[in-house]
Subunit: 337 residues, 2 copies
């Protein structure tokens, strides 16, 4: 007999074990996420055998919990959906939570409508909250601190807030970018950075710089700005002006890389033969560009799954199992470097 | 004295009138959407003068209405957020609804969890529902038909459902694409179409074909498939094989156009000099590509605002003012055609 959850009901872990797949895979397959039809069938069969019914109200009725989880993003609604990274993250959270039998909802009101948010949160009887923003957000901070239910952050929360969180290794991503360009034979590498006053760009450049230092090199130029394509256009032009024989670029976002690619194309430089470029994020656009972008992918499914499991454990056992988890980023090698 | 809403409170229309801007502009400025800082200041000043407080619970407390509106998408959660078009539409709906003092929320559960959805809808006390999906969706259809609150569709609802909706003129978009390529001097134009069994691609190709017919021409080739880049890659290669001197391409999506661009680049064809390309959707990626994509933009802010106003009118007056609205698509001219 397999181990079962507290109340004898099968958990997603039981299903994954029986199906012989990872918990995140089982969760995806049951939550409507991407999975091969063979995997989905296997997981569904295991769920059937164990009488696991994630997406109906069965699990929600097994306690005094509502089974509802609210997702919060500290961004204007417009910015939220224009940011491919955050919207992809929300999608993954939806899949992970639904796969765990939880019912996620997202309040689409400006974050400064804290009153409206609190109202809907109360009415929904949400058991917990996941804050899905990588930015330093302060609007909702006050409210979240005094919330009477558990909160998990995606990304390290702003300084004063003590909440469990999941995060990625930006330093490690920068280091991988540096190693990749070195291995390609690049010697004169520039960094087109994100905003100067945020920790993420700082960490990415630090990792990149340390990789170069191992070969006795340092970046020939660093230019900080926004994560947008416009910054990539202006910065790449400035780099070519100052260092005409630049042979490698580490862009802190795929959008920056798209701008840099255009300038190089217009100047007749071949990518990756003359100048190799690595981006960051692995947005949909990274595949659409020509050449397809080599970039650092954040493990959104793993991050979403981890946040879900942290919250689930807290709801089931009344205490946190871990208070922070950091995930590596992966180098997705395509054609630009 | 200005005309005021039913209960004497200023409406968004009053604010827009006083500020001398369109209702949609006022709504965007107050809802956290894009607006110049000058416009935002003007609208905020008008809102202050009229004591219009959209984003706090003031308006929600003026009746027995909850002020909550649920957004529904008949897609797997994952697909929802991988589709830039739908996620941009949701963002605009969030902005329009918040600008009208409504509190929008999105259920992030697979659409076949109708029970969970109904549960959360009931608990939220939502006044109404907006269904934001351009696809033929059937999973939620049964539930939506028997819902005890008003529903507005974005996109014409599936055959049997009689609900008010807003839609776009796909035929007109195809016609604009044809005119544009003809004006550029193209004579041998191919269409890389979306799925064969859906009305949208049919209408787009019909408009395109009619534009060409005015000059006594017809498409040299039509290839249908998915809206994805892979279809663009395969279809563009097939077109070059069959019609080597093709000089224009109408792609039914920006992703298809991205695939076609890559094939043309690899074959050494210059865009737009040798082959001009027009896409459809105006996704973020359209600006990131080189050359930047000329494409047909769907007026998402207008569609979102219209759906919001239809629902608002129904909630305030107990009856529908209009039952369907169709919006033109606009040709966004960039570098590819």
């Amino acid at each position: 007999m397999m181990a079962m959850g507290d109340n004898g009901a099968a958990t997603i872990r039981d299903v994954a074990k029986l199906a012989g797949v990872a918990v995140s895979t089982a969760s995806r397959a049951l939550g409507g996420g991407s999975a091969s039809s063979r995997t989905r069938a296997k997981v569904q069969e295991a769920a059937r055998q164990l009488n696991f019914v994630p997406n109906q109200s069965a699990r929600r009725l097994t306690g005094r919990r509502s089974g509802v989880v609210a997702l919060v993003v500290d961004e204007s609604t417009n910015a939220l959906f224009q940011d491919d990274f955050i919207s992809a993250l929300l999608g993954q959270l939806g899949v992970s939570l639904a796969g765990a039998g939880l019912l996620p909802f997202l309040v689409l009101a400006p974050p400064d409508d804290a009153e409206g948010f609190r109202e809907l949160l109360g009415r929904s009887e949400a058991d917990g909250v996941i804050v899905a923003s990588m930015h330093e957000g302060h609007h909702l901070a006050g409210m979240l601190e005094h919330l009477d239910r558990p909160v998990v952050f995606i990304g390290r929360p702003p300084g004063k807030i003590k909440c469990p969180y999941v995060d990625v290794d930006n330093y490690g991503g920068g280091y991988l970018a540096g190693r990749r360009l070195l291995e390609r034979g690049c010697r004169r590498m520039a960094v087109i950075e994100g905003p100067k006053d945020m920790p993420t760009p700082y960490d990415r450049t630090a990792g990149f710089t340390d990789a170069l230092a191992e070969e006795g090199l340092e970046p020939v130029m660093k230019i900080s700005g926004s994560y947008d394509m416009e910054h990539g256009l202006a910065a790449m032009a400035a780099v070519l002006e100052a260092v005409p024989d630049v042979d490698g670029v580490f862009a802190h976002s795929d959008k920056i890389a798209a701008g840099a690619l255009r300038v190089l194309h217009q100047e007749g430089r071949r990518v990756p033969e003359d100048v190799a470029i690595i981006g960051f994020d692995d947005l949909q656009a990274a595949r659409l560009l020509t050449p397809q972008l080599t970039t650092l992918a954040q493990p959104l499914p793993d991050m979403a799954q981890a946040a879900t499991e942290m919250l689930e454990h807290r709801l089931e056992h009344g205490e946190w199992k871990v208070s922070a988890q950091r995930f590596p980023v992966h180098l997705t090698v395509r054609d630009s470097a």
